[in-house]
Amino acid sequence: MTRRYFLPRPLHPFAWWGYAIALAVTAGATSNPLLLLAIVAVVTLVTIARRGDNPWAKGFKLYLWLGLFVVAFRVAFRVVFGGGDGPTILFTLPEVPLPEFVRGVRLLGPVSLESLLYGLYDGLRLATMIICVGAANSLANPKRLLAALPSALYELGTILVVSFSVFPQLGDSFTRVLRVRRLRRSREARTRRQRLGVVETIIVPVLSDALERSVALAASMEVRGYGRGGVATARERALSSGAGLAGVAVLAVWSYFLLARPGIGPTVLRTNLVELGLLLVGIGLIVLAMRVIGRHVRRTRYRRDRWRVAETLTLVCGLVPAAIVEYVRSYGDPSVLHPSITPLVWPALDPLLLAAVAVAALPAFITPPPALSTAGPALEGLS
């Protein structure tokens, strides 16, 4: 039983995205650097243990660098412009005098420890959220994510997949044309006209190549039956895209309300009614759009990812820390989540938050390992 459970397979992409987004939300609710660093460590551990070997999986390192850059940028920003200053002055830089009308903005000058820490905590929180999203991207192949979308979004998925495959091809044409150009005895471009000519000699062949390719691709898709599964009428199309757009807009407003704490409007049972209403209306509109367009789709999916026990466990491992942090925020000691900077207090973790981090690390051990494309000996035939 356990043996079967641990057979290598890719997890449902929604599971990884759900897990990662839950952790990102957890990170968003705290500025405790210890907790944030713990989340980064856990996410890195899970990613390294469970990512596949597709090109996206290798992108995680980039997100780590991006996170580091964000932290460094935030801190450097505090050094240059100050803000959130406290009594502990570390060093004083020569201040650049600014004219009267930009009063309130300061360049350089005294740098306080508190100001730097504000920058550090804030940057760390943003970096952790970025790294969580990066982890989701490496753990779940974005293409499998598209494949798991409802069939109404199929067209969108196709567009994305095709454009992804076009980029390397454009790159190929480009390097080929650049290489070939060296054969022509091109003299130094002196006039403006000649410099424009240089652009023309590259862009014209690359674009005509791209055009030929897209026509070939369109023909190939047509030949293989693309678009056979029924076509929606213009009315239905308009209805579904209108409803879809409206739904997305409503959800955007909802997310704004959600982030703008304290919320606006009446609250019942600790739930903001305006927020809840916006959420329900947004989801309803999107579901409506999908129902309308999905009625016509007669298409099937090859090797659809299935939702099994491991997927549920992964999602729970992401949701538990989020719930614990929410609990601590509401009923526990909020100073653990937001350690005080002025006066400066050394941040600490309590056992409950440690447990949350431990739960978040579980997917590295309790999920089946990913199926690697290069693993295993040459396969024997069926017959």
């Binding site: 080929r176 290489r179 099937t300 035939g381």
Partner: protein, 520 residues
């Protein structure tokens, strides 16, 4: 299975008929080989089967086409997807997804196959094509032959009744082409699918073909048994040409048949060996490469090649795709990367790259010619005169992209020749050329050699090498594995021997002409 009834086709902007009164019937399970010179309308004819022509190309089509007893006139191409599987020339251009398995399943997803059925068929197709070990590989990382096999598999998976293949091997090297053609002939025998195949390497499939459909340049067709149609076709494999010249009956289609028919002649030659034409004398060395190494990250393309090119010599550079031919040519020209070694020449070296059209970006042939004059500092009209010499019929106002492959090469060559290079390097100039265009190219090469230039052509085309080249250099894994007079290298090799050489073996005769002269 497929019936054309008085079908005509022309583009709306043009009164010229591409197909004119075409009528034929192809029975179920038949393998029909479609032949004809380039531009004769082979692709148009094949596109008509699943209505890509005129739905995708535009134009006016009249007449009636029935496939599997269904009149296709009003059906869009996608509705025919369950009946007709279509494979084009460049597999990479037609891929929609990015891994092997998903590409195989794509058609079935569109046609709404149930999931279990789809899974089973993908597994079967992987085995049928012998690509089970590639299932998760990205399509772009496959070799050309593997890509084309996947492309064929992706239409086969939904088991269409008819398979239409439009020159499936034209972008492949001979080994990969062999792989694909062997697969097609096996499919015909094992599955009994009706196949319509356009193929210029017809000698490889001719023995499996049940019939030949010859498309004439005047847009009419002739359909009939293989030997009958080939007897007076304008394009014939060398073996058929030889058989006709020697009056052999029945006409040989395979090397085995040819050798049996030539047995008597060979015995005669054993007793009385005929004189063989001597290779033309080459002049002094004008380019010398010593220890050339070309490295790319992770790959060594050329490992220490020494090569000397002489005046008036035509050299064929052969070897499988990726063996370093192009890299060597680029290194010889000087524009490419050279990691070590040295190329010494006092003369100008010109290179015509594989995709000649990349060098053509102006709006008309005339503009290209003028740009060529300006770049070389030659008096106006020089390039044009050179071009007229190569292809007298070229339309100077045409857009370079609209020219045929052969004409594109001619334009690039003319622009290069204005600079009066002593060494001319051609990277796969025969790709996409038909017999007539190859003959023109052969003449051009002979003329350049007669003017004292040294010409190198990288090619897979054995017949071209045998006819035009005096020397053959074979490369493998970045090294030169054999280098010598064309007669010695080509006739002694299993893989590179021409059809005539295989028939005449052990006597090293390469072309039909040589055979006929020796037999006289």
């Amino acid at each position: 299975m497929i019936r054309f009834d008085d079908v005509t086709f022309r583009y709306a902007s043009n009164d010229l008929f591409r197909l004119d009164g075409v009528g034929f019937t192809i029975e179920e399970g038949e393998l029909c080989l479609v032949i004809g010179p380039t531009g004769s309308g082979k692709s148009t004819l094949l596109g008509c089967v699943n209505n890509l022509v005129p739905l995708f190309t535009g134009g006016v089509r009249t007449g009636r086409i029935t496939v599997d007893d269904r009149d296709t006139t009003l059906l869009p191409t996608r509705e025919l997807a369950t009946t007709v599987g279509y494979v084009g020339q460049d597999p990479l251009a037609g891929f929609v997804t990015d891994t092997v398995e998903e590409e195989l399943a794509y058609s079935m997803e569109q046609l709404g196959f149930p999931e279990a059925e789809m899974r089973r068929r993908v597994e079967e197709t992987l085995d049928l094509l012998g690509i089970a070990d590639l299932r998760r590989r990205p399509l772009r990382s496959l070799s050309g032959g593997q890509q084309q096999r996947v492309a064929i598999g992706s239409v086969l998976a939904s088991s269409p009744r008819v398979l239409v293949l439009d020159e499936p091997t034209s972008a492949l090297d001979p080994i990969a082409a062999e792989e694909v053609l062997a697969l097609i002939s096996r499919l015909v025998r094992d599955l009994g699918t009706t196949v319509l195949l356009a193929e210029h390497r017809m000698e490889r499939v001719i023995e499996f073909a049940d019939s030949v459909l010859l498309v004439h340049p005047d847009a009419t067709v002739r359909h009939g048994p293989v030997r009958d149609v080939l007897r007076d076709a304008p394009i014939q494999p060398p073996l058929v040409e030889l058989g006709l010249g020697q009056g052999w009956d029945p006409l040989p289609l395979t090397i085995r048949e040819g050798r049996r028919l030539a047995a008597l002649q060979r015995r005669r030659w054993q007793d009385d060996p005929p004189a063989l034409p001597a290779p033309p004398a080459a002049g002094e060395t004008i380019l010398r490469a010593e220890g050339v190494v070309v490295e790319y990250p992770g790959v060594v393309a050329v490992r220490g090649v020494d090569l000397a090119l002489r005046e008036g010599e035509v050299t064929a550079l052969m070897g499988r795709n990726g063996c370093g031919k192009s890299s060597l040519l680029w290194a010889l020209q000087g524009a490419g990367r050279t990691s070590a070694g040295r190329v010494t020449t006092a003369r100008r070296v010109s290179l015509v790259p594989q995709t000649a059209s990349d060098l053509l970006y102006l709006a008309s042939v005339r503009a290209e010619c003028e740009a060529g004059d300006v770049a070389a500092g030659a008096p106006g009209g020089t390039t044009e005169a050179l071009l007229r010499n190569l292809v007298p019929t070229i339309d100077l106002d045409a857009h370079p992209r609209d020219l045929s492959e052969g004409q594109k090469i001619a334009v690039v060559l003319a622009v290069e020749l204005v600079g009066d290079p002593e060494v001319v390097l051609l990277d796969e100039p025969t790709r996409g050329l038909d017999y007539a265009a190859k003959a023109v190219l052969g003449d051009t090469i002979a003329r350049m050699a007669a003017e004292g230039r040294s010409v190198v052509i990288a090619t897979h085309d054995v017949e071209m090498a045998a006819r035009s080249c005096s020397r053959v250099v074979v490369m493998a894994e970045g090294e030169v594995v054999s280098d010598g007079p064309a007669r010695e290298v080509l006739a002694s090799s299993q893989l590179l021997a021409t059809q005539v050489a295989k028939v005449a073996n052990p006597l090293p005769l390469l072309t039909v002409e040589e055979y006929e002269r020796a037999a006289r």
